[in-house]
Symmetry: C2
Subunit: 204 residues, 2 copies
């Protein structure tokens, strides 16, 4: 019978409707400032209805995160295209930092906010991000196979490169670079220079 199929489809549509509203509000207002009531109002349902489709606000965020990572992976697909491993690593780093700086609220949800990681505590690993991390890890491995970078351990390499990229983006997103007392324009240049410098340093 096609009824249960339609029901399931309607359920997914409703879930999408909720998530779409949530994404929009999380990105414009931030996670904390977006309330279930606001989301409910936007989709013209009662707040309680949302709980029929998502367990709690954290699950909502987890779902939004999922979509954010899909966006990041799409960006990588577009911008990380070179066949030369080190060139590809360069593209990956720059693409990552550009993405973070261009979408600070999204970056916050993906890599900085504390909320949704609690609910993943019990589970093994953190699914949302594993694809992107694998892309980095594999690119680095390939670089190492060709002797293009000065790393010996691929995991150390992955952690280092990610840490550098994340550090640059997150210090900016969290406004901690105010300690440097420089203007926005200068900051962009310094960030760019830091990445270039770092890639130069790891090149063998």
């Amino acid at each position: 019978m096609g009824i249960s199929e339609r029901k399931e489809r309607e359920r997914q549509e409703m879930r999408a409707k909720i998530i779409d509203a949530a994404i929009g509000m999380f990105l414009t207002e931030g996670y904390e400032k977006t309330s279930i009531r606001n989301i409910a109002e936007k989709i013209e349902y009662s707040p309680a209805t949302i709980y029929l489709y998502y367990k709690d606000k954290d699950e909502l965020l987890y779902e939004v995160q999922k979509q954010a990572f899909e966006k990041l992976e799409e960006t990588f697909d577009r911008e990380v295209t070179s066949t030369h491993p080190f060139e590809r690593l360069t593209q990956l780093c720059k693409s990552y930092v550009r993405f973070g700086r261009a979408n600070p609220e999204m970056y916050d949800l993906m890599f900085m906010i504390k909320a949704p990681m609690n609910c993943v505590e019990a589970e093994d690993g953190w699914d949302n991000n594993s694809d992107s991390f694998m892309l980095l890890l594999n690119t680095l491995k390939e670089c190492m196979e060709h002797g293009l970078i000065r790393f010996k351990d691929p995991m150390v390499a992955a952690l280092s490169v990610w840490a550098m990229g994340h550090g640059l983006v997150s210090l900016d997103v969290s406004c901690r670079l105010k300690a440097m007392q420089i203007d926005e324009h200068m900051l962009v240049q310094l960030t760019e220079a830091s990445i270039d410098q770092y890639l130069e340093l790891i090149k063998s």
Copy 2:
């Protein structure tokens, strides 16, 4: 007259009482989960009283942050002692990362949480952290004067080193390293190796 002096002293004592309670609760429960009501209960005053001493919850956090940075600076005073510039840079990096990993909740308040930076928006710079940043900057400048590191611009150097250190700590504190699917022991080793590797890389 000594009355106004006593009044001022009592005022500072009350401020300290509030902050002490706040620190304790922020570190054990986190900023978001600590309520003004909880703090008030702990010091046995009404919630409204707190507002006679601090403008709002953000100002409370800003004050707690201040003390956290004093703790960080004390740690640096103890652990960053070498007269050799590069050796001192090494001590600084390791001390920073160790501090962050040993005090994740405090690190969160200092470098990750979003809340208190908003209220600093208008002001120029971010006072709390400027001493530590200056220590890093000056150490790097000294290294450069002696030709010990491969950086040309001290600001690029400071941003790079800070980004690397902050990246390593914050990815861990925010649980994002779950993407790497490794155990705690391995993680400590990888982090250590990443710092060593980085210091090796920037050495000229």
